[in-house]
């Protein structure tokens, strides 16, 4: 039931596919469709390749070789996760554009005619997004490499393979499912991205939905475009499934790669940390320092928005309420499946958690379609039954926003809770039953304390995702409900980089919490 409610918006958008509006398409096709499709495709391919390269390479270095600073980079390389792509995006554009400090400095050195190419380009966009999104494949590939047994590599070497070819022919294929899954996540993020691409003036389906919605107030066109995005997201997921194939590589016993690190020698010993430092500088340190500098600058010149406090407050309470809602829904779903593992319920949960693969703008459009239908239905039903029209206006209320968050972020909440519950072996339930506890008692005395950590993690993860979320918030926030992310968007569309820095810094600082949590979890694998 709950699963159905959550799945409804996605289904509503999907239903748009069933009744294509040819007139809308004809218009789109004659204008921007080709450009949108090509742009989106290039972006996806670029980010896919970039994150695969960065994520796999860094993961291999950190998980299987020993070099100075390895332990530090092991967790530090997750830091870019705290940076929303749109923040790094506007920082890079701000630093590199014609009026930015770098070009200004170079002009002073080299004469006033000197000019760098415009940073608002596809290659730069791909680099920026790859720098921020590589932690997805990094995280998954790192674990996959670390859990491989050395035996396989040694067997390959004994059969005459060089270290490089052993990596290519044994380690890489073994880690492939993890890498592909990570890259797919990164590509889905790129597909749904709104802030970065708008800063770069790069038109994709996501920006098109926004323009159609607000610029032309054309819901049908927005619905059609959203449906295309759903298809693209489904394609990414399908590719991931196909690439994974029937591969299930489980091998956790024995001597693992992490216990037998290969020491790097010679030049490699210094190149490895340099590569890590480079990625970290570009993906985290430079943007963070720039944000701090700009924030100080804004403060000195009195350009900090005076409603920053209320913006932060809006962000925080929205995030909190949404997170609690999502985690509650996740707990209900997870226990529903654990107690009644029927085919139907599992399928429902699968659909309900599709939201994560679906870009925020699509979730927003879907929610609006559903709620508008409910609004209309109540209005017409009350008209018929009571003789007067009751307008409930779900559209544009904060309920619609919370609903959109629920749709979009149920998946990470569900997965975290499910993993937590999955770690509770069924024998613990049975042991408690055997020692005289009722099913309720089992939940209170065994599950509640054991799940505390997972629930907290889920709350924090979802809360921060909500805080960072931009397109859905922009599309359906109630009038006047501005958040930090909305403020960043508004400033960056006016190219006011310095003014955008304070709210961005706030989001980045908040974003460090789940990263810290993640590293802590990785160090102390829970009981």
């Amino acid at each position: 039931m709950l699963a159905l409610v959550v799945a409804a918006p996605i289904v509503a958008v999907g239903a748009n596919l069933l009744e294509p509006r040819w007139d809308v398409w004809a218009h789109l096709a004659s204008t921007v469709l080709g450009e949108l499709a090509l742009n989106t495709l290039w972006l996806l391919l670029g980010v896919g390749a970039g994150t695969a390269l960065l994520g796999t390479g860094l993961a291999w270095l950190v998980a299987t070789t020993e070099f100075p600073g390895r332990r530090f980079f092991d967790w530090a390389l997750l830091l870019p996760m705290a940076m929303p792509a749109y923040v790094v995006g506007f920082v890079v554009v701000g630093l590199l554009d014609y009026a930015g400090p770098i070009q200004t400095g170079l002009r002073e050195l080299l004469g006033p005619t000197f000019q760098l190419p415009d940073p608002r380009s596809l290659p730069m966009l791909v680099i920026v997004m790859s720098l921020v999104l590589y932690p997805y494949p990094y995280l998954l590939a790192r674990t996959a490499f670390a859990e491989q047994t050395v035996d396989h590599m040694e067997a390959a070497r004994a059969l005459g393979a060089s270290p490089w070819s052993a990596f290519r022919r044994v380690a890489l294929p073994l880690a492939r499912p993890a890498i592909v899954a990570g890259v797919a996540l990164a590509m889905l993020e790129a597909l749904g991205d709104f802030g970065t691409v708008s800063t770069f003036g790069y038109r994709t389906f996501t920006t098109a939905i926004y323009r159609v919605w607000f610029g032309m107030f054309d819901r049908e066109a927005a619905g059609q475009l959203a449906a295309v995005l759903v298809v693209l997201a489904a394609l990414v997921l399908l590719t991931e499934r196909l690439a994974r194939g029937r591969a299930r590589f489980a091998q956790t016993h024995g001597r693992t790669m992490t216990t037998h690190l290969r020491s790097l020698r010679g030049r490699a010993r210094w190149l490895a940390p340099l590569a890590c430092i480079g990625v970290l500088l570009a993906g985290f340190v430079v943007p963070a320092l720039t944000l701090i500098r700009w924030t100080l600058e804004a403060q000195a010149s009195g350009r900090v928005a005076d409603n920053l406090g209320s913006l932060a407050w809006n962000s925080i309470w929205l995030a909190t309420v949404a997170a609690v809602l999502v985690v509650l829904a996740a707990v209900v779903l997870v226990y529903g499946i654990r107690l009644f593992p029927t085919w139907g319920l599992r399928a429902a949960a699968r659909v309900a958690t599709l939201g994560y693969a679906v870009p925020g703008s699509v979730a927003a459009v879907g929610v609006l379609l559903v709620l508008a239908a409910i609004d209309q239905a109540t209005a017409s039903v009350s008209q018929r039954l009571l003789g007067r029209t009751i307008e409930i206006f779900l559209v544009g209320s904060w309920i619609s926003l919370l609903f959109a968050y629920l749709v979009r972020f149920l998946a990470p909440g569900f997965q975290t809770v499910e993993a937590g519950v999955g770690r509770i072996r069924p024998s613990l339930d049975e042991a408690a039953r055997g020692l005289g506890r009722s099913p309720n008692g089992v939940f209170k005395e065994i599950h509640a304390p054991l799940l505390r950590g997972s629930l907290l993690t889920a709350l924090v993860l979802v809360g921060l995702d909500v805080m960072k979320e931009m397109p859905a918030t922009l599309l359906i926030r109630p009038f006047g409900m501005d958040t930090l992310a909305v403020e960043i968007w508004q400033r960056t569309t006016e190219s006011l980089w310095v003014e955008a820095a304070p709210p961005a810094l706030a989001i980045v600082v908040a974003g460090l919490v789940p990263v810290a949590l993640l590293t802590r979890l990785r160090r102390h694998p829970t009981v």
Binding site: R425, S427, E430, G434, L435, G436, R437
Partner: protein, 343 residues
Amino acid sequence: MPPFLSVTGLVKQYRGSTHPAVQDLSFTLDEGEILVLLGSSGCGKSTTLRLIAGFERPDAGQILLRGRDLVAGKVPPERRGIGFVFQDLALFPHLTVSANVGFGLNTHNAQRADQIQSLLRQCGVGRLGDRYPHEISGGEQQRVALARAIAPANALILLDEPLSNVDAENRSALRQEIRRILKQAGRTAIVVTHDREEAFDLADRVAVMNEGRIEQAGPVEEVYHRPVSRTVATFLGPASFLRGTVSSEGVVCELGVLSVEAGGEIGRPVEILLRPQALSVTPDPNGIGTILGQTFRGASRVYHVRLASGTELRCAARPSVHLALNQRVSIHADFEQAAILPL
């Protein structure tokens, strides 16, 4: 007086599997007895235990504990008063050793701490009360799990492969220890295992299970020496089988004549079971056996011998006896120790 536990006609088939895990299983258990259910993996022994504990519901059959019908009464596991030691021990990771042991106690007074302490001491882990399960060794976890199961004064304790997580060198000592603790506490127990050593060390009575049924039950020695089938015989230890025929003097086989009353008509083929220790070999150029190989066992040596007919035998010898490969030997069989199986 009715038996302490009586299981009759138990049937359980898991959804999606073609064969029932347990089919028409019956046995009884006296108070204070330790029964070992022995069998290979997938023979239904763990399922039997879970049915008795109430974690699974049988498709048919009756389970009477002290005359109370647990199946018809739909008694949930928490009301059965049965202690369970899990294969993975299932110690609660968020609770200390003391809290784990005290989990099933419903006393809330000053005695509680003493009670827990004395249980821990009884199980040889008196000083570990404040530790968490992950801070103690596998053997210690094992003892804590047992202490937790016997804490609520459950008369019946079920142990599911309790020693699978303990390393081999500690296993034997721990088996003796478990038997001592169970006997001292006066509990009745069913132990499920695939390890015959465990059956030898723990059991008053052993029941060998195969394909969801009990194939033979009885005192360990009886089942060892008088197995009813080849499966049971090989499950309890290394064994050789020899073809024989019933004759007027007894049973005739390649190694001689057993003067036993085998029953049945003359000429009926039977199988003779011989344990390695019932067979001895001596070098003899005209002997009927050829040495195929040997296994050194420390305290003994087992020679693999092939007879003229092609039958292979396992014969025990002292470690000091050295026989070369392909050497001819004569074989002496102590038919007193032989058992006749129907063919």
